[in-house]
């Protein structure tokens, strides 16, 4: 049992800061098991990112900057990770469950016939080396408890924002090992042809504040222009752009939406929160014109503070919210935005 590995996700030569949460969780596991904490950093700029990982708690790092690893692709990443796991038999491989991490850890667990658990919100190491894990299930309506045995490497995917990063130690350095890629370019069946960055600013999954709009966004008092293809869609889109976005901007928040808003074409699917959208866990979630259906709750109920703005005092969202305003979002949101500008000194 050589180490606890933490995969540091990178994108265009920078680390995804959510990876520092995985180092925080990995540190506890490594200390309890009495093994070092090793960052696995693959892709562009991996060496520099390994130094950053050291400041966030890794004492060792394994890096590979091979050109086949520029831009995440499952085949070359999984081939290398599986090779490292087979040769070094780490105690565990830990990552925050982003899209790429889910694929990578699942694939590598399959390659090495190891156990895998996903969406972990809490975990502890037992004296026999097994890891006991807590994860939500059934749309967050219940908690599930599962144990992963100590027979092989334990693959552990964490829910975002469920674990805390360590304090940064700027003087810390890691003992870095450089390794070669396992697959050559002509052995890889997939090729990335093009990439178009998403327009929106903040990524929902790691946003500290989210402002979300639902079907109620359609009740915008603004007049749709006569040539608008669909006046209802125009009003809702105008509301997202000119009423919700200014609030999100003062708060540095990401924009979310209910499925009703997405299905009606008010906003792209990438913004959907809920059972068939993103699961989020921000410090503050402001739901505007969202009724709070069980499937929406599934994606946001673990938010620290929920604020509901809804004109219907009976809406189920008020059962989940800590604070509520019963009123028309098109009056409340602009007033709240102005108040926040004043109070946060952003005149």
């Amino acid at each position: 049992m050589s180490a606890v590995y933490v995969w540091i996700e990178t994108f265009e030569g920078a680390a995804n800061p959510a990876s520092w949460e995985a180092l925080g969780a990995g540190r506890q596991l490594a200390d309890a098991a009495g093994v070092p904490l090793t960052a696995i950093v693959l892709g562009e700029n991996a060496g520099a990112i390994a130094n950053e990982a050291a400041q966030h708690g890794a004492e060792k790092a394994i890096v590979c900057e091979d050109a086949t690893l520029h831009g995440f692709r499952l085949e070359p990443y999984a081939a290398l990770l599986s090779h490292l796991v087979e040769s070094n038999q780490p105690k565990a491989v830990v990552a925050v469950g982003t899209n790429s991490a889910r694929e990578l850890l699942a694939a590598s667990a399959a390659d090495t016939n190891s156990g895998l658990l996903t969406e972990i919100t809490d975990m502890s190491l037992a004296s026999d080396g097994s890891v006991q894990v807590t994860r939500p299930a059934y749309a967050g309506k219940v908690i599930s408890e599962v144990t992963i045995d100590a027979a092989g490497t334990q693959f552990l995917l964490l829910r975002g924002r469920a674990f805390t990063p360590l304090d940064v130690d700027e003087s810390a350095t890691a003992d870095i090992t450089t390794v070669d890629a396992v697959l050559a370019e002509d052995e890889i069946a997939t090729k990335i042809e093009a990439f178009e960055a998403a327009s929106g600013t903040v990524n929902l999954s790691d946003a500290a504040i989210i402002v979300s709009g639902g079907r109620g966004m359609a009740n915008n008092p603004a007049e749709a222009p006569p040539d608008a293809e669909d006046p209802v869609v125009w009003k809702a889109k105008d509301g997202f752009a000119n009423t919700l976005t200014p609030l999100a901007n003062v708060l540095g928040a990401a924009i979310g939406a209910s499925r009703a808003a997405v299905d009606a074409g008010f906003i792209p699917y990438a913004h959907q929160v809920g059972q068939t959208g993103k699961t989020v866990s921000p410090d503050l979630y402001i739901a505007c014109g969202i009724s709070g259906a069980i499937q929406h709750q599934a994606g946001m109920r673990t938010s620290k503070i929920i604020v509901a703005i809804n004109k219907d005092a009976e809406a189920p969202i008020f059962k989940l919210a800590r604070f509520g305003i019963v009123g028309d979002l098109y009056e409340v949101v602009p007033a709240l935005t102005e108040e926040l500008k004043k109070r946060l000194g952003q005149q």
Binding site: E103, D111, G140, D149, A189, Q275, V326, A335
Partner: protein, 259 residues
């Protein structure tokens, strides 16, 4: 060409889920539905087979409960359904599952494309798809929002994937495994004739002996369940005129240190 899709039944998302005295989940007599994410993969399998003069097969691995999802799939228009089950699978984990799934695809023999939904809404594991691809040794294209080009003779596929950071265009060789997102299509409802035909269909059940596989060791325990800790959230509704309401709300948010 031959396209395979995997699906399963899940409790209706609106069902009231409860934990019984043995730590197991029950949902009373609420109906099960086809895993909602799979409506898109089933629709895509039908479209691919229709548009390319091929055949579509749907597979569920599990107990009889999953016949409901298979019948729903047949009613939508899938050509054939297979259920894989063996008592030896009871209590195993996703490794065994993926090994069996890959064996079933290999037994069919002529498969060009395997399609999955994004995840199971009930357990939300999101791992069976990738693990099946690895057990098959095929490339995996996940989060596919659009199939841009596919050539079953030249054995190539080009797709648009939706990632957290943006949209990516990727090409791959076939055979491959893909998992699809909501954006990809508009799932159809089963037709009346489809439902009648499906209700009469005999669904074959393949055992481990039929597949000729040995299962890898299981490393994870069967989950037990608990209710959420009771949190008594008492909502505080802001009072006064709108200016007072938003001012108090900002006070509260500052007190809670979430700004």
């Amino acid at each position: 060409m031959h396209v395979v899709v995997f699906t399963r039944s899940t409790p209706d998302t609106a069902a009231k889920v409860e934990v019984d005295a043995n730590g197991q989940v029950t949902w009373g007599d609420a109906a099960t539905v086809v895993n909602p994410w799979d409506e898109y993969s089933l629709e895509e399998a039908i479209l691919q087979a229709q548009n390319n003069g091929g055949k579509s097969t749907v597979i569920a691995i599990g107990t009889e409960m999953h016949n409901d999802a298979l019948k729903h799939s047949l009613a939508m228009g899938l050509d054939a359904a297979i259920r894989v089950w063996d008592d030896a699978l009871e209590g195993t984990d996703s490794l065994a599952w993926a090994t069996v799934a890959a064996a079933a695809v290999n037994k069919l023999g002529d498969v060009d494309l395997v399609i999955f939904g994004k995840e199971s809404v009930d357990v939300g594991t999101d791992q069976h798809n990738y693990q099946t691809a690895r057990k098959l040794g095929w490339p995996m294209l996940s989060y596919v929002a659009q199939i841009l080009e596919v050539d079953y003779d030249a054995k190539t596929i080009k797709v648009e994937r939706m990632l957290e950071q943006g949209r990516q265009i990727v090409t791959s060789k076939l055979p491959a495994v893909i998992s699809v997102m909501k954006d990809i299509n508009e799932p159809r409802y089963p037709s009346f004739i489809g439902i009648r035909k499906a209700s009469k269909a005999e669904i074959p059940v393949w055992s481990l002996a039929d597949l000729g596989v040995d299962l890898p060791a299981t490393h994870t325990s069967t989950p037990t369940f608990k209710n959420l800790p009771k949190v008594d959230i008492q909502v505080e509704i802001m009072q006064g005129d709108i200016d007072e309401q938003v001012a108090t709300l900002v006070d509260r948010l500052l007190e809670e240190k979430v700004l």
